[in-house]
């Protein structure tokens, strides 16, 4: 994929939450809160300036059919161009960027949210994503997929399970310095290893709990961005890919979907050696081993190296390459389709120098990578920079 003819920047960011439950707000009010913040941050009047809206959501998580019809009102997008992506928020970001690059708009909003606490049977909904003929007859909780893949990861890479537990300790500690985080905690390796088993060797502490929240970004064409703000964050590369969805034919070892997505994003951004290209990384850590597997798929270290790297402290804030300074999904909570945008939000704040006590000094470039969650094989990657 070549570079687009048009530069696109993030000129505004807003959010609501993140919290384990949010009984006081409807999902519309969460979106309204995040959108209002984002538009004010960008200095735009949405009714006048907004050309379009892209959201990411799944009907079953929203609890209504055709949920994409529920979005324009609270976003200031009534009678504007509206698209909904059934996927991760980073895929909605990609759609927004493409609309601007294609000349379909100058200013486009991107939104995704999670009202996971409204869903009373989230586990069963995830189970419904399994193949009805070839997998559902097993009547197994889909967490078995994470258990099998985790085992395979340990086997193939020789990573000690303690290194995986370190991811949880690091991320939930990082979350202590993040006011958005729903699940900050100071845990020990023993706490993580000895929490109750879900799908062995995966323990409860190694799996991100769902949380409620909403994230909104305002995207603008390069020339418009320059007139709006001097804090623009530039999108230098984007990639997304889906592996074979079947359990039988997917790659069980190396998160092939993310490797593909990263290659495309790097090519677009002109990045040759990713390991030295970024000041920080926000990457999907829905399950602790996923952070390690994803770091390797992103080419930031060799297969099997991410665990040792983590154990040596290289991925801490202050280390060689800070990974998930926000606390990741483990610390912030898993925002369903909005998870990728939650990762992106931290990267944007870091590049703007607005990450407060967890600020990575002089951060100029960031890598963001998402996974669409169980049981999918979809990942997306965004390369961000303070310079166009």
């Amino acid at each position: 994929m070549r570079r687009w003819n048009t530069e696109v920047a993030i000129v505004g960011a807003g959010w609501s939450g993140f919290r384990s439950i949010s009984p006081d707000l409807s999902f519309r009010e969460m979106m309204f809160e995040a959108a209002t913040k984002a538009y004010s941050d960008a200095g735009i009047d949405p009714r006048r300036d907004l050309d379009g809206l892209v959201t990411a959501e799944e009907d079953f998580h929203e609890g209504v059919a055709i949920s994409d019809e529920y979005v324009p009102d609270q976003m200031g997008a009534v009678l504007k161009s509206v698209h909904t992506i059934a996927g991760d928020g980073l895929q909605a970001l990609a759609a927004g960027v493409m609309q601007i690059a294609a000349g379909a708009g100058r200013i486009v909003a991107v939104e995704s949210h999670s009202k996971a606490s409204n869903v009373l049977n989230l586990d069963q909904i995830t189970a419904l994503a399994l193949d009805p003929v070839y997998q559902r007859p097993l009547e197994a909780h889909p967490i078995f997929i994470a258990g099998l893949e985790f085992r395979r990861y340990l086997e193939v890479t020789g990573t000690p399970i303690e290194h995986v537990a370190r991811v949880v300790v690091k991320n939930r500690r990082n979350a202590l310095r993040n006011p958005r985080a729903a699940f900050p905690a100071d845990l020990t390796l023993e706490d993580v290893l000895h929490s109750e088993p879900l799908a062995e060797p995966l323990t409860r502490a190694m799996a991100a709990d769902p949380a409620d929240g909403c994230v909104v970004f305002v995207l603008a064409r390069g020339d418009v961005a320059r007139t709006l703000t001097d804090r623009a964050v530039w999108i230098r590369g984007l990639g997304w890919a889906t592996d074979s969805y079947t359990l039988e034919n997917r790659d069980w070892e190396g998160a092939r979907y993310l490797r593909q997505a990263a290659e495309r994003a790097y090519r677009q951004a002109g990045i040759q050696s990713p390991r030295r290209a970024f000041d920080l990384v926000e990457v999907d850590d829905t399950f602790a081993y996923k952070e390690l597997q994803h770091l390797e798929a992103l080419g930031l270290c060799r297969p099997g190296e991410a665990g040792r790297w983590t154990a040596e402290g290289a991925t801490e804030v202050g280390g060689e390459l800070p990974v998930n300074p926000s606390g990741g999904c483990l610390g912030e909570g898993h925002l369903l389709e909005a998870s990728g945008l939650a990762r992106l939000l931290e990267a944007v704040l870091q590049l703007r120098g607005e990450a407060g006590p967890r600020q990575v000094p002089n951060a100029r470039t960031a890598l963001v990578a998402s996974w669409r969650g169980l049981p999918t094989t979809t990942g997306a990657v965004a390369v961000l920079s303070r310079e166009p």
Binding site: D24, F60, A127, V133, I143, L148, A199, E248, N249, W252
Partner: protein, 158 residues
């Protein structure tokens, strides 16, 4: 933002409960029909793409690698023995409730197949390790209905 007013008690939060019912059938298709009938007969079939040197289980009508058609000559019998690639003790039911007895799920590469199969693994007290030889155990012919569950479980070879 003056959105949030203090709510002193959770029971004062108004909400509406609802559920969605969705009922349907999932047609299994040409390859699925034959594959499930094979299980009923106590055989596991795959389809082999000669161009990609890759064998699909369950058998499919097409190759996802080259998008070629997998016709009559692509059908081969695979298994019932295979190699354990991974396993997990699952402690939660699909509704999220904890199971009183965890169940073991295995990831198996059947002999002569490339695709991996996921199924119940019953190992009694045998220690498990990647590379362990296992075999599919079928239900009795009278119990088979043409479903994935016609294979009762996998077990380690003695």
């Amino acid at each position: 933002m003056p959105l949030k007013e203090r709510i002193p008690h959770l029971h004062e939060v108004r909400s509406w409960r609802g559920s969605i019912q969705l009922e349907g059938v999932y047609t299994v298709g040409v390859a699925g029909e034959r594959w499930l009938q094979g299980l009923q007969e106590g055989r596991i079939y795959g389809t082999r793409c000669l161009r990609c040197r890759y064998t699909y289980v369950p058998a499919r009508l097409f190759c996802e690698r080259c998008l070629g058609h997998l016709g009559e000559d692509a059908w081969i019998e695979v298994g019932p023995q295979g190699t354990l690639m991974a396993w997990t003790q699952v402690h939660v039911a699909p509704d999220g409730q904890r199971l009183s007895h965890p169940r073991c799920i295995g990831l198996v590469r059947l002999d002569r197949a490339d695709a991996l199969m996921v199924h119940e693994l019953q190992a009694e007290d045998r220690p498990l390790q990647v590379g362990l030889r296992v075999e599919a155990v079928f239900r009795s012919p009278a119990e088979r209905v043409g479903s994935l569950r016609d294979v009762a479980y996998f077990r380690p070879l003695p």
